[in-house]
Amino acid sequence: MVKRILSLAFLALMTLHCLCQDFNRKGILRAQATISPGYYLSNGLSDITVHGDLEYFITDRISLRGDGYYLVNYLGDAGAMDERMTLYSGFSYYLTEGKALSPFVGIAPGVGIATGDELYFQQNQIQYVSNEPGVFPLISTVVGCYYFAGKWFHIFGQARFSAGTYTTEFSAHKAGQLQLSFGLGFNLSTRKKSD
């Protein structure tokens, strides 16, 4: 019991320490690559994507970022898209000023490129078609948090909600997802030492 209380107290102190640590994000260039599980909001399917991003802080509280996701595989049943790549570009707003612990919200329009094989029924026959790559627009919001643990590394966790529809010549499939990403990221400062 005493050990548990001491452990909790230690954890609380460490959290408080993290919250109070100063870190000026202006001029920071950060990047990461990770495996991201995704959940399709329309049909409950799940997939795994490789997620990479690049972000630059134009001020301590505002950053510009680009994200890319590439489909690796589905978990369980397969979806309509055999191959899919989505790219987003937008900005994020950070809720704390000058702190290492950096919760944020962001918004980013994007574009998806996907291919998929499908069956369709025409003239009393089932036809099989391999679709050409389809391009579809997307809109997304992202919420997350970074902890800048030092000059070169940070820990991150984020969730992206996206909305859009993948359309082929024969069908439409809602492509909106909830995608989770977490892991270790890398950062470096582009500020001059005099700044």
């Binding site: 134009i58 505002i62 510009l64 900005f91 391009v135 809109i139 359309t167 069908s171 439409a172």
Partner: protein
């Protein structure tokens, strides 16, 4: 009524009076580049669409800016077909109020070209296609989050002039099908566009 009009006139005068002290250059010579997300609403058949695109802006005077944009919008027609619109055009933006506030409202008007393609998922219906010319007008506001970055929200009504392209849904339940028709006569078709964009200021050109 007279009191209301006098109050509105006084408020507008105060805004314009404050504008005398605005930054000298305003938007003159500003070059910015941005991305946008667009929602197309209230078309005659009530099918909303989502789109993405980009724009750049060049300021021609202190209170006049120009925006040159392109976007691609996709709409799902009741899971029976799809409509795709691509716009490329330009707008002129007029800033009647303060230029250095937390929001910078503007009125806008412009012109664009549009390519529309409607196809049915049934596969045995010819797609409808057309090029059209359009005019648009609306209002919006910049929300400057930084000297070099702003978020812009705008709503505009766009009216297209081109040959008629229409579609309707026939049948019911699982037997529904999308029928597409075109006619050579000119027609007007309007829709409301809501756009959220993010813009990065790059340079002053002059």
């Amino acid at each position: 009524m007279r009191t209301l009009l006098l109050t509105l006139a006084a408020a507008l005068s105060m805004q314009l009076a404050v504008a005398q002290d605005q930054p000298e250059r305003g938007y003159k010579g500003h070059l910015s580049l941005g991305l946008r997300t667009t929602s197309s609403l209230f078309m005659h058949d009530q099918q909303p669409g989502i789109g993405a695109g980009g724009q750049f802006r060049i300021g021609v005077a202190k209170r006049i800016n120009t925006e040159w944009f392109a976007d691609y919008i996709q709409s799902n027609i009741s899971d029976l077909g799809s409509r795709k619109d691509a716009h490329i055009g330009w707008s002129v933006m007029f800033y009647p109020f303060k230029l250095d506030g937390k929001v910078v409202p503007y009125a806008m008007a412009g012109h664009c070209f549009d390519y529309t393609r409607i196809h049915s998922f049934a596969g045995d219906v010819n797609p409808g296609k057309r090029w059209s010319s359009a005019t648009q007008a609306g209002i919006g506001t910049h929300i400057p989050l930084h000297d070099a970055f702003d978020v812009t929200v705008q709503g505009q009504y766009m009216v297209h002039l081109g040959h008629d392209i229409h579609y309707h849904i026939e049948g019911s339940g699982n037997q529904q099908a999308l029928q597409i028709g075109e006619s050579s006569g000119a027609s007007l078709e309007g829709h409301l566009l809501l756009t959220l964009s993010m813009n990065l200021y790059l340079s002053e050109l002059w």
